[in-house]
């Protein structure tokens, strides 16, 4: 297999831009920040990217080796993907002082660009990443990464200042300035830049238009618009009434409730992590790990029949994965007590039967929803309970319970192949 010339030229251009970025950063390091060695290093990285440019312009056709692709594919699955993102997230927060250093952040960015460039030489990867409607997701990834870095960078600086008893950065720039010219010109420049970017984007990339709609033939996979793919991914673990209705509703209610349950008055109007550890960690986890990475998973790694396909895998519509998920009732009654599940309806009727059958699950869910809040109020979260009062505390814990419901179900699925905790399909009540 060879790479076509157009693609190689595109890659050459891409690497040229990245090289220029590195030369810019090198110049900044040397002249602006007076760090000669770092500057030389980044200039060297720039040269490395320039070599790529030369290689692709002269149509060398460099490709990622098949063995490496297979190796990476072998490592990736829904479990590793989610675990890696959670662990990376925890590391990022814990070692934030390390990660926010410009050189470290820049290194990560360059590695991701290099990996992205090489990955584009794989046809399967290219087909999905370069799909018109998927382009925003690459933008989303990079912009969320950048702004997370920026916010943490400022937070770390402010936290250090606070620890030394100095005022935060935002306080230093406290004087009032006139809106004309200071703000109106910033706005004007932002608008011009945004217009410019949009026009370039519109010229380079044609809006997709597929075959005329027909209800006769459903595409496989059928996907919701990309910003809802996190919700669609939740369908793997929960039925539509939870994934599509209850959980999104809880997200909206939860967001609106935030200002009323966060009783911490610190960190209002400036970036800080130390002053708001709990709030910032939970929100980052919800937004970055549960929302954004699930969108990425749903878009790039879910193929026909919503099966998982690793980065370089061909989206084979005939891929079959064994479905051996079991319900909790089955695990308890059948596997432990050897009572067939059908017996319940026969003996106790259509109403009581299913309830008794699902009793184990109902108890588990009941304990989770009802017993956990008072337990937390007396143990780990005692100080919160005392400071927040009853209503705030219950709201907070309930919201966290709903948020945690997703990772909990994920782990149960992976570890014991659990399908439903409570399964009463008779009335569509499956959890």
């Amino acid at each position: 297999m060879t790479l076509d010339k157009g693609l190689q030229n595109g890659l050459a251009f891409f690497y040229l831009l990245v090289a220029l970025l590195n030369f810019g950063f090198a110049a900044y390091s040397m002249v602006g920040a007076k760090r000669r060695i770092a500057g030389f290093l980044w200039a060297g990285v720039g040269v490395l990217f320039l070599l790529h440019t030369v290689g692709y312009f002269s149509h060398q056709g460099w490709m990622l080796s098949a063995a490496l692709r297979e190796f990476i594919d072998g490592l990736t699955g829904p479990v590793t993907y989610t675990m890696v993102s959670i662990v990376a997230f925890a590391l990022l927060l814990y070692f934030r002082k390390f990660f926010v250093q410009p050189d470290v952040a820049w290194t990560i960015l360059q590695l991701s660009l290099l990996a992205g460039g090489w990955a584009m030489t794989d046809p399967n990867f290219r087909e999905i990443v370069a799909k018109e409607d998927n382009v925003p997701i690459s933008m989303l990834i990079y912009s969320v990464a950048f702004f997370t870095w920026l916010a943490l960078y400022r937070a770390v600086q402010n936290d250090e200042r606070l620890a030394r008893g100095e005022p935060v950065l935002e306080k230093v720039d406290d004087e009032k300035v006139l809106v004309w010219p200071d703000l109106v010109y910033t706005e004007l420049i932002c608008m011009i830049l945004a217009t410019f970017v949009l026009i370039i984007w519109a010229v380079l990339l044609k809006a997709p238009l597929e075959q005329p709609a027909t209800s006769a033939k459903a595409p496989n996979p059928s996907k919701a618009p990309w910003y809802f793919l996190g919700l669609q991914e939740m369908l793997v673990y929960y039925d539509p009434w939870m994934a599509g209705v209850v959980l999104p509703t809880m997200i909206i209610i939860g967001l609106i409730a935030i200002p009323y349950i966060d009783f911490n008055r610190g960190g209002n109007g400036y970036y800080s992590f130390v002053e708001r550890k709990f709030a910032v960690s939970i929100f980052l986890f919800g937004f970055v790990v549960l929302w954004v990475t699930l969108i990425v998973l749903g878009t790039f790694l879910r193929g026909p029949n919503w099966n998982f396909f690793a980065f370089f895998e061909y989206w084979d519509p005939h891929k079959v994965l064994p479905l051996n998920n079991v319900n909790l009732s089955q695990l308890v009654w059948l596997n432990v007590f050897h009572i067939p599940l059908d017996d319940f309806k026969v003996r106790f009727g259509d109403f009581l039967g299913p309830i008794l059958r699902e009793l184990p699950g109902i108890i588990v869910v009941g304990l989770y929803m009802l017993a956990l809040p008072p337990l937390l109020a007396r143990t780990f979260m005692k100080s919160y309970f005392l400071r927040m009062g009853f209503v705030r505390f219950i709201t907070l814990v309930t919201l966290i319970q709903f948020m945690a419901a997703l990772p909990i179900k994920m782990v149960l699925r992976w570890v014991i192949n659990l399908k439903y905790i409570v399964a009463i399909p008779e009335i569509f009540f499956n959890i």
Binding site: V184, T186, T195, A207, Q211, T214, W241, I258, R265
Partner: protein
Amino acid sequence: MSVGDFIRNSQVWKSVFRHPAPRDRRNRVVVMLTNVFLHLHPVSVRKSGIALSYTWCMGGLTFFMFLELTVTGVLLMFYYRPTLEHAYNDILILRDVATLGILRELHRWGAHAMVITIWLHMYRVFLTGSYKPPREFNWGVGVILLVLTLLLSFTGYLLPWDQLAIWAITVGSNMARATPFLGYEGPGATFLKVGDVSLIHSGSDARFILLGGRFVSGETLLRFYVLHCVAIPLAVAVLIAVHFWRVRKDGGISGPL
């Protein structure tokens, strides 16, 4: 007298701008007060509050995207008819009939961009703790704006009436039939009946109301078109007005006390 001065001294110019050019302090204040668009802003602001590294300009960019989408959207409406007969073909020939041929692209990519900028805006408001008192209410207004923005995108997704469109909407709206009590496949819906007649069935549930039918059809197209072009944008415009008003009334862009 230079040409510039001549223009600035003419009666026409003076009738539009009621004061000299904003070159000195006094006129820089006056310009903000006499112009209806500029007076969305206060006259002076805290320097740290308007720093790009603080707001990321994301609220402003979201608003700009909304304006851009309004303009390109109105232009698109000239060429598009929301009927099964025309919708697809109107989109198909749009590229040839509209000048420059990037109208649809500007609208579609602008919509994607708005979803990203509004998320980032919310992200920055959270990370600066700007939802804390006295700005709790405005955060809530923001969340509603977020939901409406996603609905705008969602309803617009159907309009090209191609395979991508109807199946994405089918997948998305299938959730509605699982709404507890109100969807015919939702938990509890079977309990809602009068005698033997169930109230919630596929012809009366939440999904039916959303789609105007049992599946995505011509009625859905009309419904989504009206929501997309009239109802939701109006609601968003009103809420943006409230949002901006409250940004000012709550003490301007947040900052340390």
